[in-house]
Symmetry: C2
Subunit: 316 residues, 2 copies
């Protein structure tokens, strides 16, 4: 495929087109992914998540600038699972484009939910492969919001940064929503605001708790550092870059890189198989039969589980 040749030379239009092909999720997408897949596996993928209003986008922009100063190329994928109907991330995107555009060493793409959450997680994982094959060395995957969606998307990352900020209402709730369990690095952004110290302290306490209670912690030898930043002024961002580097080194030396990679691939394979099976089933099932079972469920003559069993019986 010619487009793959263009991609491997870093052609920006090829990258953009391939990600669109992936989002459309047709046969062409699978062909393209098969062709580019041997060229993946070189990038370090950094997930950035946290509650709304913590300043994630600003932080990612500033991190990208530091990497560019060090002559590393940067890909940014901004995922917005919060806006399933009208698409999203547009406002932040425009601000970002103005700030970083014109640098050929940076590629930015936003992705919004289309239909299912599983679909978004798969499309994000595939967009990472495209940027990886195109030669981007550090790839940020930024998610708006904090929930299981972000956990699923974070699974594609080598290093996950959870961003907190002081003054976001109830501290414990905000931190809980920051899904502390998946953090490799914490950032307390907007650290010039009142309450930054108590946010950092609350995180320390959570880490102490986790350390004493989680016997089966995923990475017992890595204690997530807590970095304070004022991303708007670039303050403290260098220290976050160092922390990412240290975490990458830890992953390589501890053997956890291989373990994470295997878990990631297993999860991805399971998700693809489930999606393929379901699609093939719903393409073949007779609409009339499906509709008549839905009618029976609505009339309370049949429960959904029994209806599902009937449909599956007929299929085999």
């Amino acid at each position: 495929m010619e487009i793959i040749q263009c991609l491997l030379t870093g052609d920006r239009r090829a990258i953009a087109r391939l990600i669109t092909i992936i989002e459309n999720d047709g046969a062409e997408a699978q062909e393209a992914l098969a062709a580019l897949y041997p060229h993946t596996g070189r990038a370090h993928v950094v997930g950035v998540t946290g509650a709304p209003g913590t300043g994630k986008s600003t932080l990612v922009n500033e991190l990208a600038k530091v990497y560019r100063q060090r002559e590393r190329t940067v890909g940014i994928i901004a995922v917005d699972p919060t806006s399933p109907f009208s698409g999203g991330a547009l406002l932040g995107d425009r601000i970002r484009m103005r700030d970083l555009s014109g640098d050929p060493g940076i590629f930015i793409r936003s992705m919004a939910t289309r239909g299912s959450l599983g679909g978004l997680a798969r499309a994000t994982a595939d967009a990472i492969k495209v940027l990886d094959a195109a030669g981007y060395q550090t790839i940020f995957v930024e998610t708006v919001g904090a929930g299981q969606a972000e956990v699923d998307i974070a699974k594609a990352a080598h290093t996950t940064i959870v961003v907190e900020a002081p003054g976001l209402g109830d501290d414990i709730q905000a931190i809980k929503a920051g899904i502390t369990e998946i953090a490799d690095i914490f950032v307390v952004n907007k650290a010039d605001r009142e309450g930054a110290d108590s946010t950092a302290l609350a995180l320390q306490m959570i880490l102490d708790l986790n350390h004493s209670s989680h016997i089966s912690s995923p990475d017992p030898r890595w204690r997530p550092p807590i970095c304070k930043t004022v991303a708007l002024h670039g303050e403290g961002v260098g220290a976050v870059v160092e922390a990412i580097g240290e975490h990458a080194a830890y992953l390589r030396e501890s053997g956890n890189l291989q373990r994470r990679e295997r878990e990631r691939v297993e999860g991805e394979l399971r998700s693809i198989i489930t999606h393929k099976m379901a699609r093939s089933f719903f393409e073949r099932v007779a609409e009339a039969q499906f509709d008549s079972l839905v009618d029976s469920i609505i009339r309370r003559e049949l429960d959904p589980y029994s209806a599902a069993a009937r449909l599956l019986e007929g299929w085999r």
Copy 2:
């Protein structure tokens, strides 16, 4: 099944046990759901979602108190999709229990993610059925956080309330994360705080925008009201109860109740079928074959989509 007989009389232990059985997702769960399903379809289900720190739990508690004054029974299901590893919602739960416990007309249950998000959405939908069959008239489903997870869970509700609060960082982001598109009713809670008016105004603007741009709005004849509350002092909560009643009447009179019910059942049936197919596949697939394909993917000899195709080919 004896437990179903106990459930239908409103026995609290039977309810609790049935929800646990559902969470464990075995054959017993499907048998129980089949038995109780004919007794469902009477409750009005109200979803309550919004960003962390908006005071959702307090609002739901106060709403429950108003319904109890009007002698309607209330079920509360608190869903926490943000804490996939350690379970969650415990703190809020204890405060709530202290406040509402002792009233036999209220049943409270919290549910946390175990494994997949789809699993949580299914378990929540089934827990609603249990409370519905047990005779609870109004059922609140409260989700912590705001994201696609909440959208999926909200699909089980007849009326969805999106809670905002002033001063949660960047207003537009906070509101976006409040997933305005799914709101039937907006609540600006903590309305005694600075910025409450501008939050309400921002919501008005979003509604005006939606009204002019969304030609295919799901409910063109229903404009979501914006209620201001100080839930901590019970202020404005009565107006929210009125709004819920008006929305329920609108759904019945417009025929949208049937449309939503059909969509809900279709989605539920699809989700159950997908889950059953995947489970049956992964129970039967040879572990050695799966592992060797994972190895090939990690070595970049094979891409995940081709590997999935091979596994599925062997299965048919």
